[in-house]
Each structure stands twice: as C-alpha cells, then as structure tokens.
Amino acid sequence: MAGDLFYILIFPGFLFLVVFALVADYIDRKLHAKFQNRIGPPWYQPLADLIKLAAKEDLIPRQVDPWLFKLAPVFAVTAVVTAALYIPIWRHGTPMSFNGDVIVVLYLLTIPTVTFFLGGWYSRSVYSMIGAARSIMQLFAYEIPLFLSILAPALLADSWSLGGMSLFYAHHPWYALFNVVGLFTALIALLGKLERVPFDIPEAETEIVAGSFTEYSGRLLAMFRLALSIEMIVGAALIAAVFLPFGLNLGGPAAFGLYLVKVLGIVALIALARTVFARLRIDQMINFCWQFVAPVAFLQVIIDLIAKGVIAR
C-alpha cells in the first residue's frame, strides 16, 4: 500500500512527473532557441515561470461558473498524471497495469483537451470561445489517427495492456519495424494533441490571444501549463513504450536511462517541428488529418493485421 502511494505520488508519479515535465520543457525551449539562433532560457526558467504564475492572483471573470472554471485545470493535471501511471518505465508493466490499460491511457489523454474546451467555452470571452471550438474541432481530426496508430501495434501483440505489448515486442524485437508508419502518424497526432506548431491553432496568439486560456491567470493558468507540459512527456512516453519498446529487459537504471533518452528524443522532435513549420489554418489541419494521417494510420492497422496473419501461420 505504502509502495503504491509512493509510486503514485512521488516516483514515478506526480512529483517525478512535475520535475521531468519542467526538464522536458526546458529542453524543448532551449533546443527551439538554439535552432532559431537564439541563446534561450536558463535551466531554471520553467520552474521560475511556474512559481511566478502560482504566486499571482487568480482572476475569475464575474460571468463564469467559478466551480467549472476552477475545476477544469485540476482535471487536466489529474488526468495526465493518472495516465502516466500505466506507462511502463523500467520494466514490463507497472503495479497498476491491467489488460485494457492502453485504452484507458488514450481516454485519459483526451480529458485535457475536453477541459480546455470546457474552461474556454465557459470563460465567456469571444477569444476563449473560438479557441475552445477550435480545440474540439482539432480533437476530432487527430484523435482517430492517434487511436488507430496506437492500437495497431496492440493488435499485432494481441494484448490490450502496455505491459503485455512491451513484453511481446521484447521477445520479438524485429516486429517493432512493422509499426514504423504508425510511429509517424502518432507523432503528428501528438503535435495536434499538445496544440504545438504547426497545430497550435487553438491558441494562435496573433488571432485569438491565448485561445481557451485567455481568461485564465495565476495558479489556474499554471495548472493548465503544467498539464500541457506533463501531457507532452506522457504522450512521448506512450509513443516510446508502444513504438520503441527496446531496453526494458536491461532492468533498473539502464532501462530508466533509456526511457529518459527516448522521451527527450521525442521532445526534441517536437521542438524541431516547432522550428521548421508555420501554423496551419484549422481547415487545412482538418483536411490534412483526414486526407493523409487517418488513411496512413489505417494502413498501419492493415499492415499489422496482415503481419499477424502471416505470423499465426
């Protein structure tokens, strides 16, 4: 019981996730700056930002429902931290693993977007409402490709738990190569989920100020920001666990180090995308997701089904 509590609250639960999210945030910002020929922030900048925001006054617009307004960021953080508990880090599976946890993780990762929508929609500001509508519109575009590309490897592994999948790919490391296509579609969908360039349409600064977060300030905004940072590493960890299931056999520190490398590698890719792309328009984003990403993700499912048929024989 105490072990579980330690796992949930401290390592690799909430506390570790916060620290790791700040580190990942720093690496993302520093790399982005370096790519852009800038110096970039010092190492403590994400923490300083968090402390500064947390120390500020929470302003709640008079017209909004204060409960919903305050609960939305809490739900966002809770959902992403809970999702992290099911993702294997240094061994196959976690103490919380059960068959079907991959679907639970995917659903938990959808909750932040829903809270962005609710928080934005009930902010009663035109910018927030447009941002909220864009968040949910974007959700419909990237969610199906993400589900398809994450579930395809599960089909091949014949297991609905992340632990079971990693065990399968540990025994058949070469089978992971079947899922290369899915890796790319999942990365693209992750950019949409994190509302990152080129899919940062819901918080396009030059059009709708800060989108859903326009009316948020102080601790509540800090929580939303933290939720997004944690979502970045959880999303990256999920992709790493599903598509790059190597090294879990090494056990202990080596596997943990490899986990950090994999996650930070994906964070670096996200920073690169932020550097080389311009923001798309919402119609372009939706067309792109449905015309290219979704069919390719579907192709991944077919590849895995065929591979499974061949292997079964």
């Binding site: 035109v126 447009i130 080129p198 030059t206 059009e207 080389v276 311009a278 798309l280």
Partner: protein
C-alpha cells in the same frame, strides 16, 4: 456578403491585441471561422504632427517630421525636405543626392527584413522572425555607423545631407551587402520551398489587378497585383534616375505575391546600393539653405518601403511652414485590407493586415468638420456637400445649379 445573423459573433481585434504592433481597431463579424464584415477604425495614435509643424521653424519641423514613422523615418524626412527644397529652389550637389539614396535603400532593406519577420510571426513561423531580425541588425548597425542613429537618422537637411560616407564605411557596407545577399537568397529558397509557409500565404488576401487600381493601392501591395507603380521609376527623385534597377512585380495578387515582391526588392536594393557606392561622385554634401523659405507650395512624392509617400508643404515667406500635409502609404492601402478580408478565414486576418506592412501611427490624421455658421457636425451628407458647393460658387459669382443635374440634392451613394 451574407447578412449578419444572431448566431454570428463580433470579435474585437484591437485596439490592444497581440496581432497588432500599434493600436488600431478591427471589428470582425464572424460566422464560425469565416469573416462576414470588417470595420476598420483608425485614430488611436493621432499626435497632431501636422499642426505642430506650423508652430515650428522649418528646420525644427524636419526633425519632427522624421518622427512620423519609426521605421521609414528617412522616407518622411526626405519627402518633406524635397518639398521645401522645391519651394526654396535649392539645387542639390550630386554627392548629396547619392548619399540620400543610399540611406533610403538601406532603410528599405531593414524595413523589408522587419516585415518578413513580422509576416512569419503572424502565421506562427517564429523561426523566420528570429532569423530576419538577426540579419536586420546588420543594416541597423550600418545605419548607426553612418548616421550615428539606429532609427531617426537625422541625415537630411535642407540642401543636402549632414554626414558623409568615408571609404572605410563604404567597404563595410559593401561587405555587409554580400552577407545580406547570401542570407536573402536563403530566405527566397525558404519562401519558395517551405510547404506550410506557402499554404498559409498563397490564395490569401487576394487583391485583383483592377481592384488594386480602383482602391488606389501603393507600394509592394500594388506591385504584387501586377500594378507597375513605383515612384522611383515613375517620378524619379534623388539619384534614382541615374541608377539602373527593376520594378519588381508579381501577378499572384495574394500575400504570397507580396512576400515574393518584397524579398526580390531586397535583392534589387543590394544591387542599387553597390552601384550607388561604386559610382559615388565627389564634391560637397550640402549647399547652404536659407532660414526663411520663400512663399510657395510644393507636393513631393517618395517611394517609401511601404509605398508612395506624399507630403505637401506651403510656405508664406516666414521661417515657419504655413501648412504641412502628410499622407503615409498605409492610408492608401488600408482601403484594400477590408476588401481583402471579406469571406476569408479569421486565421488569415493577421497576415492579411500585416501584408500591407501597416504603420498606423504614421497614418493617423484628423479632419475636423464644422458646420457653416458655427457648431460642430460629425457627418456631412452628399446632399449637404452639394448644396454647400453651389452656395460657395454663387459667392464667387458662378451659378452652377443648372449644371450636372444628375447629382441632385438627396441622391447619395
């Protein structure tokens, strides 16, 4: 244009908004993501510069006029100086004309580089912003070295310029031109190859050739709609009639065309500056100008980086100008913006507005309407104007009431 329904939302872009660098107000009516109506309201930056000039001497006014714009400061001061020089009948030394032109082209460089960065930022492509603004510093440093200032150069004076370019500075400029040319080639390759950039810019903010002429667009905005309109060629001033350069146009009619026009104009400016420096004539850099200007009036035109700049100056023989009128290029282009935005996406609004390279502070002028016989009046109708003009001509001894019956009182448009 479809009608406004109750479900449509009107969102304010401005007076304070992250997309805008200066206060101005766009009231945008949206249906979903589509723009139905745009209302533009200027006037948040009125500084009374024209009136202030009337109470200052000519040379003081010159420094005030230079502060009309923080980016094309040389454009405004040159335009004003040209008008006053025409009134005073001053003949400039050749070297002064060349130096003025070199500063003008350096200004065009940093203005266009600035625009490229702003355009990148508006479409969420901040890397372009960081790169171009880094390179813009090269030009700013050159300007600071030549004139002593980064922004308001204080280079012009009546009858010439105030500082000369030394041979070392000439070498520095030529070296910087090579660096910048290389970087600009890279930006051209980015602009022509980067898919998300092209997707966001092409087909956006369309202004057809005919509309550009009808709405009186100027500068790169007009040239991107294939209107070959450039004061440097059409009505050459300074040394522009002595140097070869091409007027860059594009027939794409959209924001992408405006981007291409601007980056190619950068290339033309490098050529121009090299040519000007290499054929810089010897001689004095200024002639002596009188303190009191003779009575007279003049209109001066100048191709600022943003388009045609017009100044009107009237002198009455005293040491102060009687009237100064400034028409910044943005005023000519802002009409086109509202036209470009209708039926487009909200996401395109920042880049379409930015694509004319607006400078709202430079544009803001005030016209005060007073009714005949005292009392203020905000709006004068077409009919009232018609009646007023008839009365006015009657006083001059002409009766025009029979003429032009087509525009009878009450008919308005």
């Amino acid at each position: 244009m479809s009608e406004t329904r109750s479900r449509d939302v009107t969102i304010p872009i401005g007076p304070q908004h992250p997309a805008l660098k200066e206060p101005t107000s766009f009231s945008v009516t949206l249906s979903g993501e589509k723009i139905l109506q745009v209302g533009v309201r200027l006037g948040y930056n009125h500084r009374g510069i024209e009136k202030a000039c009337e109470s200052r001497s000519f040379i003081q006014s010159l420094y005030l006029i230079e502060r009309v714009c923080g980016i094309c400061s040389h454009s405004h001061s040159s335009c004003f100086v040209q008008a006053v020089e025409e009134i005073a009948g001053l003949q400039l030394p050749h070297r002064a004309m060349y130096l003025r032109t070199i500063i003008a082209e350096l200004e065009r460089l940093h203005s266009h580089l600035l625009w490229l960065g702003v355009a990148g930022h508006e479409i969420g492509f901040d890397t372009l912003l960081m790169y171009t603004w880094r390179d813009r510093e090269i030009v700013m440093d050159l300007l600071a070295a030549i004139t002593g200032n980064r922004v308001n150069y204080g280079m012009n004076t009546f009858g010439g310029v105030r500082r000369d370019i030394s041979p070392e500075q000439k070498a520095d400029i030529l070296k910087a031109m090579d660096t910048l040319e290389e970087r600009t080639k890279y930006y051209i390759s980015v602009a022509t190859e980067e898919t998300t950039l092209i997707q966001r810019l092409s087909g956006v903010g369309v202004l057809s050739h005919d509309d550009a002429i009808r709405l009186g667009a100027v500068g790169p905005t007009a040239r991107a709609s294939n209107v070959k309109r450039d004061i440097r060629k059409d009505d050459p001033y300074a040394a522009y009639d002595q140097v070869p350069f091409e007027v860059i146009t594009s027939d794409l009619n959209d924001v992408y065309g405006r981007t291409l026009v601007r980056v190619r104009e950068l290339m033309e400016s490098y050529k121009l500056i090299r040519h000007l420096l290499n054929s810089l004539p010897d001689g004095p850099i200024a002639v002596k100008a009188p303190r009191k200007m003779p009575a007279g009036e003049a209109v001066s035109r100048y191709e600022a980086p943003r388009g045609e700049n017009v100044h009107y100056v009237r002198a009455n023989g005293s040491e102060k100008p009687e009237r100064v009128k400034v028409r910044a290029p943005t005023l000519a282009n802002v009409q086109a913006v509202a036209h470009m935005l209708i039926d487009r996406y909200l996401a395109d609004l920042p880049i379409v507005v930015a694509a004319i390279d607006p400078c709202f502070s430079c544009t803001d002028r005030l016209i005060d309407l007073t009714r005949e016989g005292g009392g203020r009046c905000d709006v004068i109708t077409w009919g009232q104007l018609h009646d007023y003009s008839l009365r006015w001509y009657k006083k001059q001894g002409m009766d025009l009431s029979k003429l032009n019956s087509r525009f009878k009182c009450g008919e308005s448009s």
